[in-house]
């Protein structure tokens, strides 16, 4: 590295930081336009939050693998307790909520559960002797680890987050080497049970979202409105977009949630396919980096955690974009680095921070069972 720059700064993962900065800045630009060309109420706050959480991520990156291993289960337990707390406060206070007000900060525990479940499951398979990976002993603890948080989150009710948590845990289990037939069989079971769950498990409004997703034109002014307007925003942008500050769908309020869940549509209207491809490319680089960290990691925990955290961020992006483009029902998942919202940005930056930590400390080959 260059001699002019002090070593601690030169050692920072500048390429990753730059990538995140590009994404967040683009989010800043889009939110600036979404507010009708104003820093308030979204764009300025967005950038401040990003800087704060980036600093937090850099701090997290200084921790070594041992720290993450140590805190994996305690953090998981704390977050489960916080989820319980949300339920209890909701039950007492009347009316469900997702927030936990700690006085100085409002925390959404279901968001924290996303990295926490990854660490816990990774830690569990790290502790599991390799010989037992194809036994029931490798399965039931996983089920318990997943069951508590997902049941509590589903109660809120927050289907989107539940799915992310469950899928994140399963991805780690998949990477840990659970027999392939379990996943194939599981997928078959889901295919059978999904319709049953749809009719008996889902709330009315959730059912409507699914049916509307399948046929948004049926209900253009009701639940299908989001999807229709989002597609109109993206489609009318064309290849090069309508230009900065020229979006009509967002500025005239046709696009609902244009600064949060549907921020991608707001962007695509003004920046067109080019903007969309640029965003996708940035995310591609991010995930390539994340999976690269996992592949380079030397210890089992690092591998599983890095891959799992990358997948968690991927779920955000994939589900959000599929929803915005009418490929998935409206579930309420924001787009990382672009959507306005503190809780989800914190989650993602925690994931990024741990990834950077693993990147920095790949560990030594050989672990408990080497």
């Amino acid at each position: 590295m260059n001699d002019f720059i002090p070593a601690p700064i030169a050692q920072l993962p500048w390429r990753t930081i730059l990538l995140l900065l590009v994404l967040a800045s683009f989010g800043f630009v889009v939110l600036y336009s979404a507010a009708g060309g104003s820093l308030t109420p979204w764009a300025g706050l967005h950038m401040i939050r990003f800087m704060v959480f980036l600093a937090m991520a850099i701090v997290l990156s200084r921790f070594k693998e041992r720290f993450w291993k140590t805190v994996a289960f305690p953090v998981y337990i704390v977050v489960v307790i916080m989820l319980l707390g949300v339920e209890l406060i909701g039950a007492v206070g009347g009316g469900s909520q997702r927030w936990l007000n700690l006085g100085f900060i409002r925390i959404q525990p279901s968001e924290l559960m996303k990295p926490a479940i990854i660490l816990a499951v990774a830690r569990f398979y790290d502790l599991l002797p390799p010989g037992q990976i194809r036994t029931w002993g490798a399965v039931w603890p996983l089920l318990i680890l997943v069951a508590f948080p997902s049941a509590l989150i589903l109660l809120q009710p927050d289907l989107g987050t539940t799915i992310t948590v469950v899928t994140g845990a399963l991805t780690v289990a998949f990477l840990a080497g659970l027999p392939m037939r379990l996943f194939v069989g599981g997928a078959a079971a889901v295919a059978v049970l999904a319709p049953i769950a749809f009719f008996f498990g889902l709330e009315d409004y959730q059912q409507r979202r699914v049916t509307t997703f399948l046929n948004p034109e049926n209900d253009p002014l009701g639940a299908g409105y989001h999807i229709s307007q989002s597609k109109i925003a993206i489609g009318s942008g064309g290849i090069f977009g309508k230009g900065f500050l020229n979006g009509t769908q967002s500025h005239l309020d046709y696009l609902p949630e244009g600064h949060t869940d549907f921020v991608f549509a707001t962007m695509a209207e003004e920046w067109g396919l080019m903007g969309g491809v640029a965003v996708l490319f940035c995310f591609f680089l991010l995930f390539r980096w994340g999976l690269g960290v996992a592949m380079k990691a030397k210890t089992r925990f690092s591998q599983l955690a890095a891959a799992g955290l990358t997948t968690t961020i991927f779920f955000y992006v994939a589900i959000n974009l599929m929803m915005v483009m009418g490929l998935a029902p409206v579930v309420g998942i924001p787009l990382p680095f672009l959507s306005h919202g503190g809780s989800s940005m914190m989650t993602i930056m925690i994931c990024v921070g741990i990834l950077m930590s693993i990147d920095r400390h790949p560990g030594r080959r050989g672990g408990a069972f080497a």
Binding site: I232, G235, G238, Q249, L252, D253, Y254, T311
Partner: protein
């Protein structure tokens, strides 16, 4: 511990291998999803770009059509018969509404709508196609209009507008003639799906001249393109094109005369037609009672329509064109012309002993006139004279004369429909009744009874032709096409004789001496007529029998006698005799020469009738509504029925003085 299959021992090395293999799978899946998303986005934004651009534009831009101002209807002096007044109005576009009941109740509160209006709106909302605007209220004052305008964001589907609405300054006086305008029907829209038809405030001609001249009066709509938010708030106006008002239509009417005639008819059911003897211009063509075209154009309430429909004076029918009455003695001057042409010496006398026997029936004369020549027969309206003379010249020559003078015909007028009436003759009776013409038919028809039927306009044309000696055609449009009419094929001496005879009716020893004009130097010539409604054996159809059995009162006239300028016909349905008709004719003709004098006559009369037309119609409506309420209350057992119902119709016309 049970295993999940695969007996092989698994080491860390194997696990690491499994991890990298599966991580590759995950990475591959993610890349696949990424490509899918990029492809999907490219499809939406490139392949479907045009469609979505269109949708985005139709979101953003709201094209509002501006209904054009209708062309005015003006009278011969340029006074408005129908014009436009600025109007603040509120409509509902049904398919943009969210919460129907809440919207209506909010509007009802803001606009202080009455129960009937709310019921009408609710019903129309149920019937209306989703795109058809339903009118809530028109003619609002600025405060109420503003109250709705500011609450628009909470009232989706409600459309307040400043526009123009049709206004008929003389109200009911021109109802039948002008017609009215209204919202285009679903059929109109199907036929011609022009969005202007469903634009709130846009009206099309529904009846009368408004309908006939729709194309000319309509004009071209303006348009306004505005950018709107999803909540309907207008951000800015993009561009606008002003409307092109429809062309004005000038009528031959004298609107003041029209209004005077309508008022002078008072509570009677009847018609007044006045023509210009020089040109054939129709100066007035009034049928009363009538409807207020302003009410119709604003969307008439059910009660008001019910009142008009149930009224036995049939305000919905234009009696001037479509009311058919036996002409009675008013055709006697015409018959005289036929007699003169048939070689009858006007000096020849006939003995009237109160009637004449024809075959086995005795035909009455209304009096015992003694020795009667043609002059006296007209002046005193002696039936016996005409019985005898008609039999002598033969009936068909009379029918011929009737047709020459315009009876039994319709005219080239821009009206929806006219009645032909009947001029019976020997051919007609074979076709229509499959029997031979008999002497008693001649006798009946010669005094305008029997099968003879005419409408008031035809009677006026007859009078105008006799007065002018020309084959005048009636005109309604004040344009250059009014050619000078050719002279009639009737000897001027005969015409002169008949005109003198008609002068004698009024100014000599005639039946209408009280029709004399209160003017110096101007004399009126006329002929009275009393058309029987029921056979005489039920008694005379005078004022002492129920309204619907009373005789029709008729009067045809012209003035001045020495140089005829105006001709008029007045018919009072069930007026009880000609005495109900000629005072009206006298005052209407007076109005043409001296408005003040005519108004002096009208004012005390109107006071006795209980106010002008509008006041009386409003009171009538209130009574009708109260009566409906009472009937409903009785039907629901909330109130005992009254002891006995008085004949309302009898009371109504009993006040007619003179």
């Amino acid at each position: 511990m049970s295993t999940l299959g695969g007996g092989k021992t698994i080491s860390s090395a194997v696990q690491a291998l499994t991890f990298s293999r599966r991580a590759t799978i995950i990475g591959g899946l993610q890349a696949g999803i990424g490509i899918l998303l990029a492809g999907r986005m490219a499809y939406i934004s490139v392949a479907e770009n045009e469609r979505y651009q269109l949708l985005s534009e139709s979101n953003r831009v709201n094209l509002t059509l501006v209904p054009p101002r209708r062309g005015w209807l003006i009278d011969r002096n340029g006074k408005p018969v129908a014009n436009n007044k600025t109007d603040f109005r509120v409509d509902i576009i049904p398919d943009r509404m969210r919460d129907k009941e809440k919207t209506i109740s909010t509007l009802a509160e803001l606009l202080a709508l009455d129960q009937e209006t709310i019921i009408r709106i609710t019903e129309e909302l149920q019937q209306a196609s989703s795109f058809q605007p339903v009118q809530v209220a028109t003619g609002l004052d600025w405060e109420r209009f503003a109250a709705v305008s500011v609450r628009l964001p909470d009232l989706p589907g409600v459309s307040p507008r400043q526009g123009f609405s049709r206004f008929y300054p003389t109200g009911a006086a021109v109802g039948h003639l002008a017609g009215y305008v209204g919202i285009a029907s679903a059929e109109d829209y199907e036929e011609n799906p022009d969005p202007i038809l469903v634009t709130p405030g846009y009206k099309i001609g529904k009846d009368g001249l408004e309908k006939t001249f729709e194309d000319r009066l309509q004009g071209k709509p303006g348009a306004k393109r505005v950018e709107v938010t999803a909540r309907g708030k207008i951000v800015r106006e993009l561009d606008s094109r002003p409307d092109t008002p429809g062309k004005a239509l000038q009528l031959t009417l004298d609107i003041d005369l029209q209004e005077y005639a309508a008022r002078r008819l008072g509570p009677e059911s009847g018609a007044v037609v006045v023509m210009d003897c020089k040109t054939g211009d129709i100066l007035t063509m009034t049928s009363m009672p009538s409807f207020d075209p302003n009410s119709f154009s604003d969307g008439i309430g059910q009660t008001e329509y019910g009142m008009l429909r149930d009224d036995d004076h049939v305000p919905l029918r234009d009696k001037a064109l479509k009311g058919l009455f036996p002409p009675g003695s008013t055709i006697k001057p015409m018959v005289s012309l036929a007699l003169l042409r048939g070689g009858i010496d006007p000096e020849e006398t006939v003995r009237c002993g109160g009637g004449m026997r024809v075959g086995n029936r005795f035909f009455n004369c209304h009096s015992n006139h003694g020795s009667v020549d043609m002059m006296k027969a007209n002046a005193q309206s002696c039936d016996t004279y005409f019985y005898k003379m008609a039999l002598r010249v033969g009936y068909d020559s009379i029918a011929l004369m009737a047709r020459e003078l315009g009876l039994g015909a319709t005219y080239e007028l821009p009206v929806a429909s006219q009645s032909y009436g009947t001029v019976p003759d020997t051919q007609w009776i074979i076709k229509r009744h499959e029997r031979e013409w008999a002497d008693f038919d001649t006798v009946n028809s010669a005094i305008g009874q029997g099968y003879f039927l005419t409408n008031p306009l035809q009677l006026c044309v007859m009078a105008a032709r006799m007065a002018s000696g020309r084959k005048l055609e009636p005109h309604l449009l004040y344009d250059k096409d009014r050619r000078a009419a050719p002279p009639l094929d009737i000897s001027p001496e005969h015409l002169s004789f008949v005109r003198n005879a008609m002068s004698e009716v009024v100014n000599g020893a005639g039946t209408a001496r009280r029709a004399r004009l209160p003017l110096d130097n101007i004399k009126l010539g006329g002929k009275t007529g009393t058309a029987q409604v029921v056979s005489l054996k039920y008694g005379r159809g005078g004022r002492d029998v129920p309204w619907k059995f009373r005789d029709h009162g008729l009067f045809v006239c012209f003035a001045p006698v020495d140089n005829p300028r105006y001709a008029a016909a007045v018919v009072i349905q069930h007026g009880g005799g000609s005495g109900a008709a000629y005072p009206v004719a006298r005052d209407v003709i007076t109005f043409l020469y001296d408005r003040e004098k005519a108004m002096e006559r009208l004012e005390p009369l109107e006071e006795a009738w209980g106010g002008d037309i509008k006041t009386r119609m409003d009171r009538h409506l209130a009574e009708y509504r109260a009566n409906l309420e009472l009937e409903k209350a009785i039907a629901e057992g909330r109130q005992p029925p009254p002891a006995a119902e008085e004949g309302n119709a009898a009371n109504d016309s009993a006040q007619l003085g003179q």
